[in-house]
Symmetry: C2
Subunit: 197 residues, 2 copies
């Protein structure tokens, strides 16, 4: 991707958290770049195509963010991931970005291109968590009765729900973060006390 395209996608990001998704226009995006609407049109022939490219750009950043979490032992890696995913930082543009992304999610049922991209985020997180948990069970660090698929299902839904509740009803995420930490430490980690004879 050349520099101009990258500049347009970065401008889309700023325009999105400033104006929200529903009200987003090409004018807003152009105002966040050094380019004209015509130049943006040259790179992306419709707002829909630009937004699809933006979601792919966002997906690459998401994958990088998850990959940057230290590849530690399963328990520690899971906790570090929860730290990244469930830490509330509404300072600066973060809170506005989350609001805009909930709008995008609400649009997904009506828009195949958006839904297909959001499915990639969902699938990526699911696969990542499942692989860590399966690994923990295989290496006898997690309880052998843990079912990696069902546990991942539960964690993925809880993380998604924490985001929606935080944005929609202004509910803090730190309690869920604590609940998820404790779930990992008490329900997944194999801490069968040794029997003393």
């Amino acid at each position: 991707m050349d520099d101009a395209a990258t500049e347009i996608l970065e401008g889309t990001h700023r325009a999105l958290y400033t104006h929200g998704y529903t009200d987003l226009t090409l004018e807003h995006i152009a105002a966040e770049t050094t380019m004209s609407k015509a130049t943006i049109h040259y790179y992306f022939d419709s707002k829909a195509n630009l937004f699809t490219a933006y979601l792919e750009y966002l997906y690459d950043r998401y994958v990088e963010q998850i990959a940057s979490v230290p590849d530690d032992r399963p328990r520690e890696r899971l906790q570090s991931l929860l730290d990244v995913l469930l830490t509330t930082s509404d300072a600066g543009p973060n809170g506005k970005f989350r609001r805009a992304m909930l709008e995008v999610r609400a649009q997904a049922p009506y828009d195949d291109a958006i839904r297909t991209r959001l499915e990639k985020f969902d699938r990526f997180l699911y696969d990542e968590l499942r692989s860590i948990i399966a690994n923990g069970v295989d290496e006898d660090m997690f309880d052998e009765h843990v079912d990696p698929e069902l546990t991942t299902e539960f964690l993925t839904a809880a993380i998604s729900g924490a985001h929606t509740r935080h944005v929609a009803v202004d509910y803090p995420m730190d309690r869920l973060h604590e609940a998820a930490r404790r779930y990992v430490d008490t329900q997944l980690v194999d801490e069968t006390p040794e029997v003393i004879h």
Copy 2:
């Protein structure tokens, strides 16, 4: 509430799942009733006021639905509630209604009246689950180490996330339903095996 007002709110419900929230107009609502736009205006002086009244009407139905779940022992009541909350029924208007409600949720950060009403739904479910779980711990049916607040936090988030994922990325809820059932049966219920001497 008189019959005309009830008819308008029921019409709002049908118009909402037919047209979605973003595109909803008073014309759509009037078309779902025997009344004119002018009559609807007489009862509710703005679309915003009508929608707020509609969310309160919906809340009362939600409370009734939860209250209709048999008041059984904690484990059974919790499982029955999960059956109600996590059963996918997209037949008829249900699926469209869920899509529209995700739009309403995405609107909440920008609209105090909507957010305040959605908070009531969230709070009601949280309190209901917390009371069942606390009850189960008090009556020694659930493990004494279960923390009712944190457990409720986790369950509420998972239920909310299951709905969002189902609507936004078309993800089935039945796996989460199974995961939640198993969570209740293996993590909450006190099944310490008796020690045989």
